[in-house]
Symmetry: C2
Subunit: 410 residues, 2 copies
């Protein structure tokens, strides 16, 4: 179960009504693909299960960057305690050290490589693919390379020519909204994680907010879109295993809402924190610094393990004996409660998302929840939530720098 | 070598003159201890070398939170490719899973535990210490427990009673400014890393900016302190191994500058990014979003390893053949250059710190550089850079919640 409590004033229903309609239209029409992913994945899951059940492997190396790896890293991180069919390694940056570490750990013949790129032409991904091919010089790429890409890309043509399996991402699903598509599902199936439950979580979230018209997301989005001072949104997750989810949220929020409309610039800046650790790092700024932040907390009731802080009194440290006979997760959650209270007392906009436990269903729900929240703020800003024109300039400059260097080297 | 190029307009020297004097006074007087750390550590290093040379161990478990672990994590992360005397595990959060993972990996008898807490009464640290003591029930704590704390704390008394070695942090050095003190040095010596070179880097940085009066830091600080719109400062490090350094910067910046003076609130919000990866996550927001950010880049010339992207043409992917015959680090650095140009074109305040390589000396220099920068902005804001009153409320609330729960349980 997921409960979301808003500790700030809700707005009148008529303020958000027109946005609700626009969001629902987006969700019903076919242009924005992510809305429909929870109902599209079961066929891909069966196909993937058939495929991977016929393979023997100990390791999976996923090559992908941005939306192609952040989502599966969040899943991997959150479900780290679950039993796996194989180990997962992610190559999401051009980094020699990581490349060497991974190649030293794996046995090529017992490894599946998943090459994930929507466009099929991401510079870093193709560079890493070439490094892998050059390093192992495989006879038959089709034996242990799997590709995830849009229908008809050059990467798909390359895969087909090499008799390698290809899974498709729907063209109308953007990279950062793709975690419930093949991008997230295929590596999950390969790992033996329950992708069906992930999709059910997404579907249940959609049902709650779109069909049953729970207005929490719209209220929260309206608060964010209209809060004149707080343009920074902190996600404070009180569980180590949500660090990957924080990173996923940061990409979603930053790339979707950081947009220009003519001369007007929009954007809300995401920050991800982990409790209680970051109470000792960032909290001071939230408490006493400029009031330019809202804070969302995620609290996990059951952390799976439950060692208790022992009832042990240490000489000279008796003043800390009040911390005893409670589980570690209980201590973390009480620190969350204490921080929530302190921030509310300070007059900040706070909300708390409480989830029962970290499993596939809850993760799927959380992903969809944040996607809807992002879409809702986007509708309120009036921006295009789903493109990313700003990063094209850098890509063009890189290409011209590289071509210049290559010409000089000749 | 370290070079820092500012791509924004410098201010007239007379604007920053008075701040320079105040900063120099702080550095000369004895109240703020971190300024003097580069010249204080050699004695502690000898003492630590004598101590650890007499021990046999394969693993080090460091228990510390906030300033007591962020700095050493940054060092560990940046120098991950260096040969070590032992493996390092950091317990910096109350997290069962991590606790279990670590206890499964180590052999207690061949492990040194470093308990690091300036105040000696950090709730999480003492809870973790009790969990370790309860789990292993050691006969003689002094055999393999080492403590780092302020002179005279109750934690020191506990250590003394148990005949355990204690190293001191000077009382006038705050946790987030303590990386060049015993907090950073002792674990480095235990790992076999070159703590002397770290201190030399700090000393050379001090010399450059305080004695030789290089005004780059003051110019940068003045720009940050007076920039009316850009209250978010991004550190974009183009090397995976600087992720820990980013986290260290975030604590330093957030806790030092997020302050109240009467009703007036100050604060600059730090963001840490890793290139090129986060070009696919956060860059869109910087490029097209509200212009509320400055961006500092860190570029590392020599990444130690230098595999080249092979001159390999893949069917259908020939359009990407322009990326070839350059090293991975070269590709990353060209992506950095391309992003720098794109942001300058967009009119953002940008500066680039270029370092030759990631070693102890360069790290020590970088730590000291950012500490000076933080102090300089603090002086310009007129806040107390070195306290953290805002986190005390949460601690009080936590204590009352815990005591209430304990009373109910009775």
């Amino acid at each position: 179960m997921i409960v979301n409590n808003l500790f700030f004033k809700k707005n009148k229903i008529e303020y958000i009504k027109s946005f609700e309609q626009r969001l629902n239209s987006e969700a019903e029409e076919g242009d924005i693909g992510y809305y429909h992913l929870p109902h599209l994945g079961n066929e891909i899951i069966s196909e993937a299960e058939n495929f991977f059940n016929n393979k023997e492997y100990d390791d999976i190396v996923l090559i992908g960057i941005g939306g192609s790896s952040i989502g599966i890293r969040a899943i991997d991180n959150a479900l780290i305690a679950k039993k796996r069919k194989a180990r997962l390694h992610i190559l999401d940056n051009v980094d020699n050290l990581r490349f060497n570490q991974i190649t030293q750990q794996i046995d090529f013949k017992r490894t599946i490589f998943i090459i994930s790129s929507k466009s099929g032409t991401t510079v870093e991904v193709i560079a890493l693919l070439k490094l892998i091919l050059d390093f192992y010089k495989p006879q038959n790429i089709g034996d242990n390379f799997v590709f995830i890409t849009d229908n008809g890309t050059n990467l798909e043509k390359f895969a087909n020519k090499n008799n390698a399996k290809v899974f498709h991402v729907p063209a109308n699903v953007g990279g950062r909204f793709s975690v419930l598509s093949a991008i997230g599902i295929i590596p999950m199936v390969a790992l033996g994680l329950d992708a069906c439950a992930l999709l059910r979580g997404g579907a249940d979230c959609k049902n709650n907010f779109i069909n049953e018209k729970n207005d929490t997301i719209l209220q929260k989005a309206y608060h964010y879109a209209t809060h004149n001072y707080a343009k920074i949104n902190v996600l404070f997750s009180y569980c180590e295993r949500l660090a990957g989810f924080n990173d996923w949220y940061i990409q979603l929020w930053a790339e979707s809402l950081g947009k220009k409309l003519g001369c007007t610039r929009f954007g809300l800046t995401p920050i991800g924190l982990i409790g209680s650790r970051d109470q000792h790092s960032f909290l001071q700024l939230i408490m006493d610094g400029t009031k330019d932040k809202t804070v969302s907390f995620i609290k996990v009731i059951d952390h799976d393990f439950d060692d208790k802080i022992p009832d042990l009194s240490l000489d000279y440290l008796e003043e800390l004996d009040f911390v005893k006979n409670i589980s570690m997760s209980n201590l973390v959650n009480m620190q969350c409660d204490a921080t929530v209270r302190a921030l509310i007392n300070e007059g900040l906009s706070v909300d708390v998302i409480t989830i029962d436990k970290l499993d596939e269903w809850h993760l799927g729900y959380l992903f969809y929840y944040y996607e809807l929240l992002t879409s809702a703020v986007g509708v309120m800003f009036g921006v295009n939530t789903y493109d990313q024109p700003g990063v094209e300039t850098g890509k063009r400059i890189l290409k011209s720098l590289l071509i210049k260097q290559l010409t000089c080297n000749k």
